[in-house]
């Protein structure tokens, strides 16, 4: 460590206690024990990553020194002399006995219901009886240097405070999208399915203000948990490691937690929860996740389990991709002078296609809103454009809708159906109001704007899933799937209106059929290339993504192969329909089959995408924080007893 040590003038402990005694922020216990008080004697200038520990320095002195935190609107400024230093948990993993005192102290203080916890203890175990070891891990929020939760949150519910470096979240701002729970590698933010909002560890800033350690630390019975200014090693401890077996890669967020773990552990440490992940000791002595083939190697369908609480997102992503794709192909194709599309652009059913796109994306957005814990707060989804891909995705999609709507309006006067409607309603031709030709330029402009915003929306929709804490998602395959689906599903949506138009007007449908088949095949091929590479990469990997892929090939193995088969079939038949003219009837039937196969494969594929992801979260225990048990408790009805600690899902 190259940081210089800055000596602080030691303050007599009694003075601090006296100050704290009069505080209205937190009542210090009568004759409180030394273990409960913060005891940072000296403080480094920067942390191991070179970031300043003094948070006022870090912000370039823009903030006042004695700023109140306004905890529960209390304007009192705490007496803690180090309140502007980044604080951190210190966990002596050697010592944790898994007694739940930290968790219950937290639950008591924060009044969290049984199914939620700001701090949780899980474990990994290894060895063979009696040479067996269990390593308990107590984990809460690590109040990271780079809080991905804060950046990801679309509502700006999070603040990283210059006081203690605490990353605090405001449940009253949150609309319950749960995105922070996706991006956090430590499962720190807690999405409450009952309340429909997130809450999390507040670092017990009220206790810190009066010089006390957080409640969990003060309650620790194994002398495992400690707390202080980051990089400070507590008395009687020697190490300050940044990782222990089971702890996610600290480079994702630079978490403010340090570890001591001196006890030699077995080479392989296993998890008791259902996650098919275990940890192997690498050459450098650190433990790396590898796949644990807990469910064997046999393939199953598990089709019903493809339905999850993320169903609205399955539909939202597919529908918005289809909508953007359909419009983009129709509009851009026409602009580019592709005969069938140029022709279709002038047809009566072009406007219904726009309406279909608009309807799809609107319904998708509506469904994504129902996915929120607090749907009525949906408008807060644009509050964090500066950092959150969720906001940018939302904005892109919203602008797409707006420009598409304007484009549609501009196209109305030229539409024969609309013109006759206008005539019958108002008794005058619409051209008296406005000449359709004068709207051609605005229509084109809005069209281009819609395409740009749609593409940007899709890009950020893809960025939303590029989450380091979710390695199965964090792959360029997301982009190929999303754009590929835009192309394939968009073409299908277009075809739904284009082909009837052709048939009604009695024109030759063959060129259009071949064009549509080609576009669908192209979209499917883009998706397939991504999936193929994803498969190769996940097979070669040894992280949670590899574990997800293992589940994909076993628990959902048959469903996975059906999806792959449908996709392959789609590509082959698309190519076939493009290459050979099979006549209008066969062509139409073939195209319909192709469309159905691809819609089915897209639905299954997207459902798999959500169901499979295994985050890098901390290991759970046998019951608590065990996804397998949670599922079981919901399946058999144990979850209906609140004291089981598993909240039943709302739908």
């Amino acid at each position: 460590m190259n940081s210089e040590v800055k000596e602080l003038t030691a303050k007599p402990e009694m003075i601090e206690i006296q100050q704290a005694d009069g505080s209205t922020l937190w009542e210090v216990r009568t004759q409180e024990q030394p273990y409960a008080f913060l005891s940072d004697k000296a403080i480094l200038d920067t942390n191991r990553y070179g970031q300043k520990i003094d948070l006022l320095d870090l912000t370039g002195g823009q903030l006042p020194k004695e700023r109140p935190l306004f905890i529960n609107d209390n304007p009192e400024v705490g007496c803690n002399p180090n309140r502007n230093k980044q604080h951190a948990f210190f966990f002596t993993a050697d010592n944790c006995i898994g007694c739940h005192a930290c968790e219950s102290a937290c639950a008591e203080k924060n009044e969290t219901p049984a199914h939620l916890a700001f701090r949780s203890v899980g474990y990994v175990e290894g060895g063979s009886y009696p040479d067996y070891q269990r390593l308990n891990i107590s984990m809460a929020c690590n109040h990271c240097d780079d809080p991905v939760c804060l950046k990801g949150c679309p509502t700006r519910a999070y603040t990283k405070h210059a006081e203690y470096g605490a990353v605090l979240q405001d449940p009253d701002t949150c609309f319950g999208c749960g995105y922070c729970t996706w991006v956090c590698p430590y499962n720190a933010p807690q999405l409450d399915p009952v309340e429909g909002q997130v809450s999390k560890c507040n670092m017990c800033v009220d206790r810190l203000e009066v010089g006390l350690k957080p409640a969990c630390v003060s309650a620790c019975v194994g002398n495992a948990l400690d707390f202080g200014v980051v990089e400070n090693i507590p008395e009687n401890r020697e190490q300050a490691k940044i990782s222990i077996p089971g702890f996610p890669d600290p480079s994702i967020t630079r978490p403010n937690i340090r570890f001591q773990q001196t006890r030699e552990l077995p080479e392989e440490m296993k998890r008791t929860d259902s996650a098919p992940v275990k940890y192997h000791k690498a050459a450098d002595g650190n433990y790396k996740p590898v796949v644990d083939r807990k469910q064997g190697t046999s393939r199953a369908w598990n089709l019903t389990r493809l339905s999850s609480r993320e169903n609205p997102l399955v539909l939202f992503t597919l529908m918005s991709q289809a909508a953007i794709g359909a419009f983009a192909i129709a509009f851009f194709g026409a602009q580019a002078g592709i005969p069938a599309l140029q022709w279709f652009g002038g047809q009566t059913l072009y406007v219904p296609l726009l309406a279909l796109s608009l309807g799809l994306v609107a319904l998708g957005l509506y469904l994504s809103t129902t996915h929120l814990g607090k749907p009525l707060r949906f408008f807060r989804g644009f509050n964090n454009l500066r950092h959150s891909p969720v906001c940018r995705e939302g904005l892109g999609i919203a602008l797409f809708m707006a420009f598409l709507g304007l484009h549609l309006l501009c196209k109305l006067p030229a539409n024969a159906l609309f013109a006759s409607l206008w005539q019958s309603l108002f008794g005058m031709p619409v051209s008296e109001l406005i000449q359709p030709d004068t709207l051609a330029t605005p229509a084109a402009t809005f069209g281009y704007l819609a395409i740009v915003s749609g593409a940007v929306g899709l890009y950020y929709m893809n960025r939303c899933y590029r989450i380091p804490a979710r390695p199965f998602w964090n792959h360029w395959q997301v982009a190929t799937s999303f754009y590929g689906n835009a192309l394939s599903l968009g073409t299908i949506a277009l075809g739904v209106l284009l082909l009837p138009t052709l048939l009604l007007t009695g024109l030759d449908s063959a060129p259009a059929t071949r064009l549509l088949a080609a576009l669908i095949a192209a979209g499917a091929a883009i998706e397939a290339i991504g999936l193929w590479c994803h498969n190769l990469d996940m097979t070669a990997a040894e992280h949670e993504g590899a574990a997800s892929h293992y589940v994909q090939r076993t628990t959902f193995g048959n469903s996975y192969w059906l999806r792959n088969g449908l996709l392959g079939l789609g590509i082959l038949s698309g190519v076939g329909l493009t290459a050979f003219d099979m006549g209008p009837t066969v062509g139409l039937i073939g195209l319909t089959m192709l469309a159905l196969a691809l819609v089915a494969s897209s639905l299954m594929g997207r459902a798999l995408f959500y169901v499979l992801v295994i985050p890098t979260t901390m290991p759970g225990a046998f019951f608590w924080r065990n996804k397998g048990f949670e599922q079981h408790a919901r399946d058999i009805g144990l979850a209906d007893m609140p004291q089981v600690g598993v909240a039943p899902l709302r739908h």
């Binding site: 905890i71 005192a101 968790e103 269990r134 507040n202 225990a621 144990l638």
Partner: protein, 729 residues
Amino acid sequence: MLFGRKKRKPILIPAKKVKEWKYTTCNYCSTGCAIEIGLDDDGKIVTSRGHARADVNRGKLCIKGILEHDLFHSPGRGSQPLMRATKQEKFQPASWDQALDTSAAKIREIQEKYGRDSFAVVSTGQLLTEEFYTLGKLVRGCIGTNNYDGNTTLCMASAVSGYKRSFGSDGPPGCYDDFEHTECLMAFGSNLPEQHPIIYWRLKEAREKRHFPMIVIDPRVTMLAQFADIHLPITPGTDCVLINAMLYVMFDEGLQDQAYIDAHTNGFEELKVTVADYDPIQAQHICGIDEDMIRHVARLYAKAGCAMSIWTMGINQSTHGSDGVANINNLNLVTGNIGKPGGTSLSITGQCNAMGTREWSSCSGLPGYRALKNTRHRQEIANFWGVDESFFPEKRGLTQTDIFPAIESGEIRGLWLVATNPLTSMANQPRIRKMFEKLDFLIVQDVYEDVETNEYADVFLPAAVWAEKEGCHTNTERRVNLTRNVIAPYGDSKPDFWIFNQMAKRFENGNKIYFPETPEGAFEEMKHLSIGAGRTLDISGMSYDKIEQAKGIQWPYSQGDDSLKGSPRLYTDGQYQTPDGRTNLISVKFRDNNEKPDEKYPFWCNSGRVVEHFHTRTRTGKIGNCNKFSPTPYMEINPDAAEALGVEHQTYVRLVSRRGDAVVLAQLTHRVPRDMVFIPFHFHDCVNRLTLGLLDPYSRQPAFKQCAVRIEQVDQVEAAQLNLERRSF
């Protein structure tokens, strides 16, 4: 960048607006932690905290203590007395007068018809000491049955018996402060991190200041075993063999403290002869600990400047429970490790007031460690209470584990259960169930009306719990500590103290004997009865206010002592509670009477606690933040054994013993050996459907931890359904 927001979001943290903190002692285990309960302006409980100044816990609490204040309004509380004419009917609400009148009339009717001893009373280790004293007065002085015991027979009887046989009296001689002084600690079947987390913390604190060797004897790799310097994974039920072999090594190598032996003990020569049969070469094949290790550990222990032993149910709940305790005492006596800082034989007790019932309930004798067989003791109590001395039996009646077979044989026809749940807690539940069916009359007095045993009750008396009452507990280190009344009893439930007083009025002697109106009045009587030269159990110097001021005082603490410091240790002068003042070295011979794994039932069935639950879960099963850590029964099984049987992690299996069966989830872990399963004992319709519970010949405590089972596959859907149906909480 991240900090620079002009408008920060509000910070809302639940504020506990405490107006007044009230002093209590935890009502779960025997550690004796002091808890302050915080009340708001409306007198509503809003929070609690460990008392930072109490010497026992120094501000710390375990999960159960932290969440204990949630239990007052937990589901299933009894809010009014219930009665029914037959067990097939539904309970009907009754007034207290109706319930008590009926109960008293039935007790008298049964006694008149079948004799005084045909009605039995079984209480607990969970009441307050004043309540135990009052119950003893009621049962011994008014009802007059000799079949009166506490459920402490299921947990501490062997420790009591072993202490009495060695030292002439019950009473743990050491204290938690011994951790600060000892140079070697040996833990037998005691898993402090899980069972007594705060005592573990005291041990951990001592070991962080000054490392000393810790030897853990346990067939399971518990957290304590994992942290031990030496873990001896012993074959179940063979502790006596291991200890005898250690004694063999000590005597063989002349490592004993001969001066102490000569000055203070009887029976040394006989002990030497007995242990001569336990050469480590032979012993290793029985206890599963190799010869070299036995020698190593014996030397380590004997050569330490001072050494201490602790034990819990691993010793007590076996057919060698009392012998095991006596043998641990032997180990400490021959090394001169009794009555000195860091040298002791410290039983780590189970229930919060197991000590209180041992001292004052009259279960096994008369108040204040007095014996029924002692004429002087009978006379003292008879005079003090104002009853005829001949009303007392001349020897102790049946223990809880013998009361139930006496129900089976028809000798006992009626039963009053106070704060205990034998349908879940006793071994061989299928047999216990039949016994309940035979009872003519059953009174269940409990905090919860959904306590499983209530299934068989004729009368249910709803009791108040913990700080709804006022009185004392005695902890494992003989510390008497106070619980102040904090809130009113739930609904129309009443303090057990009140119930006993009211019941007494319905018996002839109850109107002769004075029953104080308040617990403090009863405490004054107990103080008076504890006066006496040479008595260890002396609380005569204590008062409620002094106890609260001191945050608990360890007895003996005599009249006139104003130091607020009790006695941390007993027998510091080498004077024991025996006729000649010398302690007894008890020769222990190993009898191999356990039901051991065989071809038909190839697994040891071991049982024990988990930290988040207490006893039969009537309290912790309803507090979500406790219960969620183990909401449903499970067993630990070795993965190698599971693989051979085709049992998968987190699937249901059916365990079968010669008594019955149980369905549990399998947790595969190398914590247990290949021939053992471990099942937490807290769950109803679970481990005790399997257990045998052979009785210790001295203490009559059941061997819960040794029996044999086999494992059967089970339909997962049906097992899940059964598991759900068996849980009402």
